[in-house]
Subunit: 403 residues, 2 copies
């Protein structure tokens, strides 16, 4: 048996990768943070993650930064060395990852790979976005630039309207209702009310959500995630080295990445996000588990319809059952499966490039049993799900409690 | 001995990574390509790389795309799935990497890691930039946004002027002359004249370069690389699977990444690019070779001064000797060390996010002995060097001839 190992090194399978742990987490308050710049937000989150781990800056071997559009939002490209530099780590190699709304999740995937491969031992992965230095309409136009500029945006199809088309289709095809969409917002605000870092830490009601001004029919203002500033970071190392740090490590048990057509009209079925299905199927397969094994999930809910589609496409509910399941309370905290315990993008907030890392922070808190009033009971597996654009890219990580 | 292998898998060193080969290359003409969009350029390069390898699209498991600023240049973020999609590979997971001018090189590093780790077998890494959809001044402003926006650009320090300060310092400190700077341009145009894909495939003279209009003293127009459109791609796989493809593979023998302060004024010595030194020292160490073993190099020459500094910081010449060495012809084709046989960014052209991949294409051609009139004789090792911003990020790959 052991004589085979020499060959296995030369043709490694995924399972020959090193196991990777999250040993530190940090995030800023999310909100309209007029007094903080992108670099300040990035540094705050990164230093919190190092402090949480009890790790020194000079131990960091590599940094990845997820960010959607600092070029347009603050006129600054090349932000990975910017954040490394201002954190006092200018010698540390750093790389920015961009995949629209999935930038943070994709950065985590590259960080995972760096550690799993053995190339680096200690890696910090951050995500940051500073959206309020431009006007709200400009910020929304920039979100739209993650859809297909030549075939969608230029003809007036905004980000909101593309998601509205998906919502309309889902309602027509599966009978999903505006009440069900509203229940996503109500639940996520209920969770956010228990999250001190949330942009909107307060409860709301179905009637209030439904009576909000229309953005793009059928999506009203409270069906949409806000424009936000914020940053988040995680510190990674191989599992074998994780126990020497001060916090209980959480393992990244599996990852999966998926792609799809960039433009919505190119897809066969706009009521399904194939990239999400592809990403999660890979992630489940690698860990040899299924959606039933997942105790809680942070899913991409930039719109209420996105959460409904995500909980179906991730396999938690059958297609068309996402709305009814939400309405019946099956996705509330400590129900069938706790979805977006943090409040999600919808109520915790949406600093775009940070969202995937915010999800990792929440999942880590849950698996360390440090989530306070929003703690999921007896959770072993948490799934995090980040998508880019209108679903052309998706990344899924499955995190596991240390045992 | 073999009984130790089980342990080695759990604590892998870099040398336990799989060896990675470049099995296919492709690039577009570089120039002001008014009739081609970013997606068309990306697809052209990618399909050429697949065709060169004799690889089918459905074999591709992962794509990385290096790009500096499509958000600002063509109002399109999220370009990795854009290019995958329009190449007919919408299901393929794809990720964009951005590190200013080093975006292409950094994308190659992530692609290398994907294959070396065993996570993927067949990976395509592309780089693309479409710069001429905006005016020349706007394109230059976007280049400046890879420097420090808050502490440099906003005060009027343009990209050109920051490099001009480095040039002036280098001249004062080491006696580098304008004649020596001009010789970089003359040499690179001489090489470009033998490269059918070059934007400026024609020779020039020292007097012509020196009499060009001043851009930022001491750098004149012909000390600066142009604004360009273009794309390039390479196909990667593990060395053990490389021989089944139709071309002679080239091995990526080593990589190294370095960082430095984002703002020039934060650095101790602006006549040296520490990020380049850090990156190359790591790369040499991993392969256990030194600069003397390198037969040719494609170095980042966005300005003539940058090549002078690079050939010093990469260890080919002592500090301060880059100018005299160039003047004496030591960096010409088939002299002491052949530098920028492609014509470099200076004369082959500068489609920013593609440049690191253009360098890989040139090095592969050289090591396959397919470089025609600009062929380096008996080359075993070629080094490629890509930097971001004014040198805050650098990536070095060492490529080795198949033997």
């Amino acid at each position: 048996m052991q004589c085979m190992l020499n060959i296995e090194i030369r043709s490694m399978e995924v399972d020959d990768l090193r196991d990777v742990a999250i040993i530190g987490i940090g995030e800023t308050q999310i909100g309209e943070l007029w007094d903080k710049s992108l670099r300040e937000l990035g540094i705050e989150a990164g230093l919190k993650a190092l402090k949480d781990a009890g790790m020194r800056g000079d131990e960091v071997e590599k940094m990845y930064i997820g960010n959607m559009s600092a070029g347009k939002l603050i006129n600054q490209e090349h932000i990975a060395p910017l954040i490394a530099d201002y954190a006092g780590l200018s010698e540390v190699p750093s790389t920015r990852i961009e995949s629209g709304g999935a930038s943070g999740g994709m950065a985590l995937a590259e960080g995972y790979k760096s550690v799993a491969s053995g190339m680096d031992d200690f890696v910090v992965v951050g995500g940051a976005e500073k959206m309020t230095d431009v006007g709200e309409q400009e910020a929304k136009d920039i979100l739209s630039s993650t859809a297909d500029q030549e075939w969608e945006t230029v003809f007036g199809a905004t980000f909101d309207s593309l998601y509205a088309m998906m919502a309309r289709y889902h309602m027509d095809e599966y009978g999903t209702t505006k009440d069900q969409l509203a229940e996503v917002a109500v639940k996520n605000h209920e969770n956010a009310a228990k999250n001190p870092n949330a942009q909107y830490p307060r409860e709301t009601s179905k009637d209030f959500v439904k009576s909000a001004p229309m953005v793009s029919d059928p999506l009203g203002m409270f069906d949409c995630a806000p424009i936000s500033d914020g940053a988040a970071a995680v510190a990674l190392c191989p599992v074998e080295k994780a126990e020497s740090f001060q916090t209980e490590p959480v393992e990244i048990a599996s990852i999966g990445q998926g792609g799809d057509n960039l433009a919505v009209h190119e897809r066969d079925d706009i009521g399904t996000m194939e990239a999400t299905k592809r990403a999660s199927e890979k992630a489940y397969k690698r860990e040899d588990i299924g959606p039933k094994d997942i105790d809680f999930a942070e899913v991409h809910d930039n719109y209420t319809i996105t959460e409904i589609m995500a909980i179906e496409d991730l396999g938690f509910f059958d297609k068309g059952e996402g709305g009814p399941a939400t309405e019946k309370g099956k996705t509330k905290l400590n129900s069938d499966i706790s979805i977006n315990t943090s409040g999600g993008l919808k109520a915790k907030g949406r600093p775009v490039g940070a969202t995937g890392i915010n999800q990792a922070v929440e999942a880590t808190l849950q698996l360390r049993e440090e989530a306070g009033d929003r703690q999921v009971e007896n959770a072993e597996y948490g799934l995090i799900h980040n998508i880019g654009g209108t679903g052309a890219s998706a990344i899924v990580h499955i995190l596991r409690r240390w045992s």
